[in-house]
């Protein structure tokens, strides 16, 4: 019973095995990919392990406080940002092994040629709430 973030990157992850950018896939391949992701999420809802899935636009910006009474400073987007998060899925599972198993399945989503992408996904455990018994 622990939550894990399965993080997908536009950039910053090691290269996938089937490393063809999406715009070079056929429309059918893209549909198959999207269907795979939807089915995966639906299946996890069925197993009682799904928490959340979201995709992010690549255009982001940096924002910071600039002092009392001043508007925040906005910078970017930076085309060259090395690490760019594309989206995530959050799962609630019984073990670390299960989180790894699910990330493996997600990474098998089909890409160019209908072959699995073998994309690298970042798997990050949540910091949970403090347990009632500690000492």
């Amino acid at each position: 019973m622990a939550k894990y973030l399965l993080l997908k990157h536009y950039r910053g992850a090691p290269a996938a095995v089937n490393d063809v950018p999406m715009e070079k896939w056929t429309p059918e391949e893209i549909s198959a990919h999207v269907r795979y992701m939807d089915d995966f999420a639906a299946r996890l809802e069925g197993t009682g392990e799904f928490v959340d899935a979201q995709a992010l636009a690549p255009d982001g910006m940096w924002v910071r406080y600039d002092g009392e009474g001043r508007p925040p400073v906005v910078d970017g987007p930076f085309a060259e940002t090395k690490d760019l998060v594309a989206g995530w899925m959050v799962v609630d599972v019984d073990s670390r092994e299960r989180a790894i198993e699910l990330a493996g399945e997600l990474s098998a989503a089909p890409g160019a040629g209908g072959e699995p992408i073998h994309e690298w996904l970042e798997v990050r455990p949540f910091l949970g709430a403090a347990p009632t018994v500690t000492e």
Partner: protein
Amino acid sequence: MTPPLDEVLLRSLTPGVLGVLVRRGADFAAAEDAVQEALVEALRVWPADPPRDPRAWLVTVAWRRFLDATRADAARRRREDLVEEEPQPGPASGVDDTLALYFLCAHPSLTPSSAVALTLRAVGGLTTRQIARAYLVPEATMAQRISRAKRTVSGVRFDRPGDVATVLRVLYLVFNEGYSGDVDLAAEAIRLTRQLAAVVDHPEVAGLLALMLLHSARRVARTAPDGSLVPLAEQDRTRWDTAAITEGVAVLQAALARDRLGEFQAQAAIAALHADAPTAAETDWVQIVEWYDELVRLTDSPVVRLNRAVAVGEADGPRAGLAALAELDDSLPRHAAVAAHLHEAAGDLETAARLYAEAARRAPDLAERDHLTRRAARLNTRPRP
């Protein structure tokens, strides 16, 4: 004026009502759905029109819901047979039913998270939404988790006795989840364990109840107003719940008197020794180490050995604690935190600060990480001689 509906009282009737339906021949999954519907109906109707006999009301409504739900099914004939055989609801089998339900919901074929969810719903009478909120998952996810769990146990004989230890593990998991959402899971775990203790005579059930009461008694003192953790030694002991401590100690003493020691009784004994100390300095660490020795014997758990090293450090000095720690694998969760604490006590503040920072990086939750980071920061910013 009608008094506000006591939801906890209402939910305490759940296992008995469910037991009656299952005993009349309803399958568990359908019976459980029917009882949930009856609970929702009770919440709606009772405030304006409280029944004379709440349990009988729930049985009647749940049974009717069950029949309605099965009416469309091919099971019509079977249902009609059931109606004719319908036994009178009586208190005689209530105890057995409640116990059977605990065993079923903690059945070894269930994963821990499924057993927890099913226990909270079928025994605890919580709604799927409440359980989902408590575990911070979507309601649809929790609904699936519960219905899968019900399918998993659908073939299990309802009245077969199980292993109390599996039930206790589930209740302990619920207790440890603490508080999130609108349900106090620790309080719910205490309620369910108390209810279990009323129907089964087992020293470890009493041990777990005592452990929960003693830990829960210190709960408000464990957190500062800003949400940060307050370690045991620094807690304001006047804020401890003395009624809960008194009850916990009494429950524990009665259990220990039966001379069938188990893990939860030993843990409760340690909690009782902490609760019994008027100040942190007056803690009987020698006796605590003895209880940890018992726990090591009972569980052989590395986590217990780690906690024992802390106790040894208090009883025999930080050097002895570090010696005990040296025998343990340093990849254990909280190993660095214990090492930091012992080095600090031994006066090696440089090492302690480094280890606190390392422990913070490996902390499993936010409150603990912040606490350890503060410890490291306090040592790093201390005035140097």
